[in-house]
């Protein structure tokens, strides 16, 4: 079991003829993902690593029966490409692109209102259900199939954390990179709700960071609506105020969004806080070995 993606997921790649799009199409295929089509306006008829290319998302969906899309479209064209996928009613849209203007994502979120379309990202590594389907740019081999759900705002830190889990013998049900931008398609709250309902997930690891209120909203949900154990690491304890720490969304603005604040509310919600980024795998592994800790 897993959330959002699995063996039956059929993926199209928007921006497939670009360098990153083509490269990761190959990597996704190698992992076993059913990449069934690609989209680049004006490139209909081209073939990338055996995958047929179409001019529009609608064409690609009609021809292939795809039920998910992943975007490698350059930031300035991304908004139109996302809305095209929304119009084609694809139920899952994963946006890898970094640097999309914030108000473009506000526009996307406005359009999504009232629709049951799941958007992951932007500025994220993607989503993976180990052994079944990988939609994104993460190295596949660091993952191992299992029963821990991972939600993260980061890229390489997630890889590090996931690899720690794998090396500690703790497999993952699904890992989602939510993205490093201020406005995201999905939140920790969305991911937690999905994992809470997933029979294949026993516990959840959150990897948060400074900026915004994702973790605070997650804490609120955990208090009332999550029964599975939650572990969290929050990056950026030393971040100065009003400085953007690499991610567009990682900024303490107006004194709000500090790591200390987030850790405090998560801890109050009963989340196990992991202090060291090197102890993510070992903390989860040893907690799972203790009887009685499987459920809160």
């Amino acid at each position: 079991m897993s959330i959002l993606i699995g063996k039956d997921t059929r993926v199209i790649v928007q921006g497939i003829t670009g360098q990153a799009g083509a490269f990761h199409t190959e990597k996704m295929l190698e992992y076993g993902t059913a990449v069934v089509g690609g989209v680049t306006p004006g490139k209909r008829g081209a073939v990338v690593h055996g995958v047929p290319v179409f001019n529009t998302v609608k064409e690609a969906v009609d021809a292939t029966g795809a039920n998910a899309t992943v975007l490698f479209v350059p930031a300035r064209f991304a908004c139109d490409a996302i809305l095209e996928a929304v119009d084609a009613c694809l139920p899952l849209i994963v946006i890898i692109t970094e640097g999309i203007p914030t108000l473009d994502m506000v526009r996307v979120r406005r359009r999504l209102r009232g629709q049951s379309i799941r958007v992951i990202g932007p500025n994220c590594p993607g989503i993976i259900t180990p052994g079944a389907c990988k939609i994104g740019i993460m190295p596949g081999y660091i993952h191992q199939s299992g029963r821990i759900g991972v939600l993260s705002r980061s890229g390489t830190l997630t890889y590090d954390a996931v690899y720690q889990l794998t090396q500690a013998g703790v497999g993952q049900s699904t890992c989602i990179g939510m993205g490093g931008d201020p406005v995201l398609g999905s939140s920790f709250v969305d991911g937690l709700s999905l994992f809470e309902r997933d029979l294949g997930t026993d516990a959840i690891v959150l990897i948060g960071e400074i900026g915004g209120t994702e973790e605070e909203e997650a804490a609120r949900l955990i208090t009332t609506g999550v029964t599975k154990p939650v572990f969290a690491f929050i990056a950026g304890k030393l971040a100065p105020k009003e400085k953007r720490m690499g991610h567009a969304g990682a900024i303490i603005a107006g004194g709000r969004g500090t790591a200390a604040e987030k850790i405090q509310v998560l801890e109050s919600a009963g989340v196990t806080i992991i202090e060291s980024p090197a102890a993510i795998g070992s903390t989860v592994a040893s907690a799972l070995r203790k009887p009685g800790l499987a459920r809160r």
């Binding site: 979120r109 030393l238 971040a239 690499g246």
Partner: protein
């Protein structure tokens, strides 16, 4: 504006207002940060001569406010404007509720230099969401005017102002527009006496006019240098240089140095890929910081394999003749090969440590 310019500005304000020698003006330091008033960045002048001397006293100095960090920011411009007698100062800002993906207007009757303290009491600020596509409803505009305690013609001015704020926010891809203070004058005019606006860097490609306003003197020199070559760098207080791929991992690396009892000199995200060129440029930036006593390189190789990164590190450190000790922690794709390359190179200053925790402790020890 030069001191002479400030004097001239005073004169023209004196003539405009017709108050003769009663006239006073504010001489305001122009900074890319708030908190100026409390930090002594806004001075009063009662004569042309005083305007010139106040301007001279501000220009060229560095002003430290609650929002600038300890180094402060240079004052390279001043603005002279009319000093207006006001009964009360209001606060209006348009910003983004990131979680709900909606614009949010903040309004408070308690504007002025204490706004940061006021903001701590949530009841003192009215929050009014605004639809991204449709703007403020009439009912919402009424509530905002009422929250600010405005009635009659002034309330109408307020509604116009708030509508204009929404248009400006969207048309300029802003992330924050803040008017503080917003005041009602004795003759019932609504005036924005000061404003701060933050733009979305990612949207500057469609606002060439706004991009031209960038004032690099207001940016930290190393941050600026890094930024130009696609590296995210933020200076911190300590003496351990950090070179990391990925923003989250870079923040986590700072955190683990602190846990190990040390203090990082910087946050540095060389990018997810960490190519040889980028790594070389990143070392260049780290070494420009005289405080750096030791360096921690923390790379998770995904698509970019650890053996390539190790080769890059060897090349870069040789080229740049790095003297300070470098602790390297590699993890990920082809990590054994990467570690072997570093070990075989037998460089005294390049220490490969497999475990992140141990790497942090090692670099802290070396920086002592």
């Amino acid at each position: 504006m030069t001191p002479d310019g400030a004097a001239a500005a005073y004169e023209s304000l004196r003539q405009q207002t017709g108050r003769g020698s009663e006239s006073a003006c504010n001489v305001k330091a122009q900074l890319h940060a708030g908190g100026r008033g409390k930090a002594g960045g806004i001075l009063v002048a009662h004569s042309a001569k005083e305007a010139a001397s106040q301007a001279a006293s501000l220009l060229g100095r560095r002003l430290v406010t609650t929002q600038t960090g300890a180094e402060g920011l240079p004052v390279s411009a001043v603005l002279c404007d009319e000093r207006i007698a006001v009964a009360n100062e209001l606060y209006v800002a348009l910003t983004l509720d990131r979680f709900r993906a909606t614009l949010m207007l903040l309004a408070s009757r308690q504007g002025g230099v204490e706004i940061e303290e006021v903001a701590a009491a949530p009841d003192a600020i009215r929050r009014e969401p605004v639809d991204f596509l449709e703007g403020f409803s009439e009912a919402s505009l009424e509530r905002i005017a009422a929250a600010l305690g405005l009635t009659g013609a002034v309330a109408e001015s307020c509604r116009q102002l708030v509508r204009a704020l929404w248009q400006l926010y969207i048309s300029s891809d802003a992330s924050l527009i803040e008017i503080n203070p917003l005041v009602v004058t004795d003759d019932q005019r609504l005036l924005a006496l000061d404003a701060k606006m933050t733009l979305d860097d990612n949207a500057l490609f469609r606002h060439e006019d706004l991009a031209r306003l960038r004032d690099e003197s207001q940016e930290h020199p190393l941050e600026l240098k890094a930024n130009r070559i696609g590296i995210s760098y933020v200076g911190l207080e300590g003496n351990i240089g950090c070179l990391v791929n990925g923003a989250g991992l870079a923040m986590a690396t700072n955190d683990i140095i602190k846990l190990a009892g040390g203090s990082p000199a910087n946050f540095l995200d060389v990018g997810g890929g960490a190519s040889v060129e980028q790594v070389t440029k990143a070392f260049d930036i780290l070494l420009a910081d005289q405080r750096v006593r030791a360096i921690l390189v923390n790379i998770f190789g995904g698509i970019m394999r650890c053996d390539w990164i190790a080769q890059g590190l060897l090349q870069a450190t040789q080229q740049l003749d790095v003297k300070v000790p470098i602790v390297v922690r590699l993890q990920g794709t082809n990590v054994e090969e990467g570690r072997r390359l570093l070990a075989d190179a037998k460089r005294l200053t390049l220490i490969s440590v497999d475990d992140l925790d141990q790497a942090a402790r090692k670099v802290v020890e070396l920086a002592r």
